[in-house]
Amino acid sequence: MDLPFSGDLIAALVFPGVLGIFGFLVVAIWLERKLVARVQWRYGPLYVSKPLGGLLQPVADLLKLVFSELVLPRHTNRLFFAAAPILLFFAEGLPVVFIAAAPGVVMAPHPYGLAIAVVLVLLVAVLVVAMAWTEADKFTYVGAVREILLTAAYEVPLLLAALAMFILYGTADPYGVVEAQSNLWGAVLNPLAFVAYLVALLMATTRFPFEIPEAEPEVVLGPYTEYGSTLFIYAFGANYVKLYVLALLGSVLFLGGWLPAGGLAGVFITLVKMLVFVLPAMLVRAIYPRYRIDQALRIGWGKLLALSVAAVALSLVWRLLR
């Protein structure tokens, strides 16, 4: 390529990488607050930058948090207390290394790339629990237990949905997966897996119907209660990073990634396709009440498991027919 930067550098610094993650944090928080406000007949953030419709609101929030006092409680291990959210945020962003946003725009092309990304996403729950544990607070303690249980609810359906798609495509290479969808998108070939993935995504990012670990009326902010200042950005933003990663993964797995474009235009196509996952995740916040933890577990091991097993079966049938 005759670009000033090679594709993997773009991937590292701009789109799936650093700039994309922080940009997504800003845009997603703004979008969420605006959309929810729209549903509730409000304006949402506005006066901070009126011509932009309040787009600077998350920026102001970030600045406020960065320049507010950093309190490290005395009863915690202060080093771990400060390190846990940084590690969490970093670990949530790590799976993008293996996901391609456009041909060539990937940090580490790997034949099993997407499978590794799925596993990395699942591994992060450990860090949330570790973070809650370091905070040593009644609310974080309850939040940690709830996080463990919720993880138990979504892990298997998410893995099964990914398995269904890998069986269908016969590969976990991001390029191979997208190539296999050149005629029909994965979401059309296997809608069951798509739905299972979407619900598992809501659970994994603790979005609204499953916002159980950080249920505000019950456990303040769950695992994030003790954090203020910059560390709160990381602790709370980690969820948005997870949404970003899962949306990116989903658009490659189910929506044909950068097709029909190639090259750098593919990056924009991928961005637009990510909205298919991001917008519902934002909107359900305004619509649904919250499930109890046992209801969430029952959904995960009941209907969702059945759905994802059916998705694998559908993939097997497709595979044998071909």
């Binding site: 607050r33 406000a37 509730q40 007949w41 409000r42 304006y43 949402g44 953030p45 506005l46 006066y47 901070v48 309040g54 600077l56 609101q57 920026v59 102001a60 929030d61 970030l62 600045l63 406020k64 948090l65 960065v66 320049f67 507010s68 006092e69 950093l70 309190v71 505000e216 303040v220 902010l221 994030y224 209660t225 003790e226 954090y227 203020g228 200042s229 709160f232």
Partner: protein
């Protein structure tokens, strides 16, 4: 050079703080009912960047909602003390100013005796517009602060 940098940083910090005042849930009396209104559809304090927060570690403005009894004053003080540094207080309602209907009662304290107050709102209960006016007053104060 150093002062220039620190001035620029302070301006940024003030701008951020100004547009992102997050109150914790601290309801001391009947004015608290009005708070629901302020964040509801009609008055929508989120336009000014306010966001009700659960934990004190992230919030930076207390809206004292009406009467503070001696018993509750301990908790108001405690909440104020536990909030991280740039922090502001709005005292809402006649009760928080001087006692309102409980004026002269043995068991009530004016807000200014408990915590430093940045803006007062009069009324019993104050209308949501009045509270929002006070919020923008506080924002002006933050924006024009020196240092």
């Amino acid at each position: 050079m150093k002062t220039l940098v620190s001035q620029a940083v302070a301006r940024l910090a003030r701008w951020g703080t100004k547009w992102s005042l997050w109150p914790p849930h601290l309801v001391t009396a009947c004015c608290g009912v009005e708070i629901g209104h302020i964040f509801g559809s009609v008055y929508d304090a989120e336009r000014f960047g306010m966001l009700p927060m659960g934990s004190l570690r992230q919030s930076n403005i207390i809206i004292i909602e009406g009467t503070i009894t001696l018993k509750m004053a301990k908790f108001v003080k405690y909440v104020y003390e536990q909030m991280p540094e740039p922090k502001y207080v709005i005292a809402m309602g006649a009760c928080a100013i001087k006692g309102g209907v409980f004026y002269g009662s043995y068991h009530m304290v004016p807000a200014s005796k408990v915590v430093p107050v940045h803006a007062y709102v009069s009324g019993c209960p104050p209308t949501p517009e009045a509270v929002l006016k006070a919020v923008s007053k506080v924002q002006e104060q933050i924006g024009h602060a020196e240092n």
